[in-house]
């Protein structure tokens, strides 16, 4: 199984974990903007989530339709066990690389 994750995929997975069980497009975007300091477009978030779902790292479930969404239903995302494993591996790799580069203090 392909375990590599792009930065946005990593951020999206972390946002889903943090926001569970109410992680959907806008809340994920807001979470990333608040914590990572940049605002990805809704399209790029959905493209990443679509890719992650294809890989089997996230699962989606349709939610309720609201008036402010023009009667359209939300799509809630949750991280699957392989997704958690991939995220852990990816973060571990990042940590190892930063340690190898002597960035222990900078990361801490």
């Amino acid at each position: 199984m392909i375990m590599e994750l792009t930065t946005l995929e990593q951020h999206a997975l972390l946002a889903i974990v943090a926001l569970q069980p109410s992680a959907y497009g806008i809340s994920i975007q807001d979470h990333i903007a608040r914590n990572a300091g940049y605002e990805p477009s809704v399209g790029s978030i959905y493209a990443s989530l679509d890719r992650l779902e294809d890989k089997g790292f996230v699962r989606s479930k349709q939610g309720e339709a609201t008036r402010e969404r023009g009667g359209r239903r939300k799509l809630y995302f949750s991280v699957t066990a392989p997704g958690q494993r991939a995220l852990r591996e990816s973060l571990k790799a990042m940590h190892s690389l930063s340690l190898a580069a002597g960035w222990k203090e900078a990361v801490a």
Partner: protein, 189 residues
């Protein structure tokens, strides 16, 4: 002098009637949710003008006092029409975005953009929110297009593999087998 002033006022009234008719037309379109409230306002307006509803009024029928009161009510209609108006996000941008995803994800993506649009409308006003919607849509095009292309490519590869496999199977089926009785091998000769 007073006649001249009066005629100027009449012109103003005519102008205001025009505005009022426009306001009613706008309110009729926009007041979808509370049409009863709108009808009540129009009746009140007509009562203030001392006229039967929906009839044309001559300038001479209207006193300046009525004009003043009417103007207030007109403003009320305009404001309430504006309030009742729920601005809609740009339809063309929605359509363009809907081309890239399918099913539940398409619904969710458009819903998310509508939710943001609604929030932006409250914060910045409809015009700016519409521009921001376009901005978000344009920023979303490229990642979605890339994703769509990747998906199409993946399916293209699958379709191509299936086609090649079926071609090869057909060719193999056409080729005569060595074990067939009608074929002479070097040993038998």
């Amino acid at each position: 002098m007073s006649d001249k002033k009066g005629s100027q006022q009449d012109k103003k009234i005519v102008r205001r009637y025009t505005t009022k008719e426009k306001a009613i037309a706008a309110a009729k379109i926009l007041h979808r949710e509370s049409i009863v409230e709108f009808q009540r306002r129009v009746t009140m307006l007509d009562e203030n003008l001392d006229r039967a509803p929906e009839t044309s009024v001559k300038c001479s029928d209207v006193t300046s006092d009525v004009v003043e009161r009417t103007h207030i009510i007109w403003s009320g209609i305009c404001i309430s029409a504006e309030e009742a108006k729920s601005p809609e996000p740009p339809q063309f941008a929605e359509f363009c975005l809907s081309l890239f995803l399918s099913g539940a994800k398409r619904e969710a993506l458009i819903g998310c953009l509508s939710e943001r649009f609604e929030r932006d409308c409250e914060r910045y006003g409809a015009e700016r929110a519409r521009n921001m919607y376009w901005g978000a849509a344009i920023r979303s095009f490229w990642p979605l297009l890339r994703r769509g292309a990747a998906r199409a490519f993946k399916w293209g590869v699958v379709v191509e593999s299936v086609r090649r496999f079926s071609d090869r199977t057909r060719e193999q089926a056409k080729q005569p087998r060595l074990s067939d009785p009608g074929i002479a091998t070097a040993d038998t000769c």
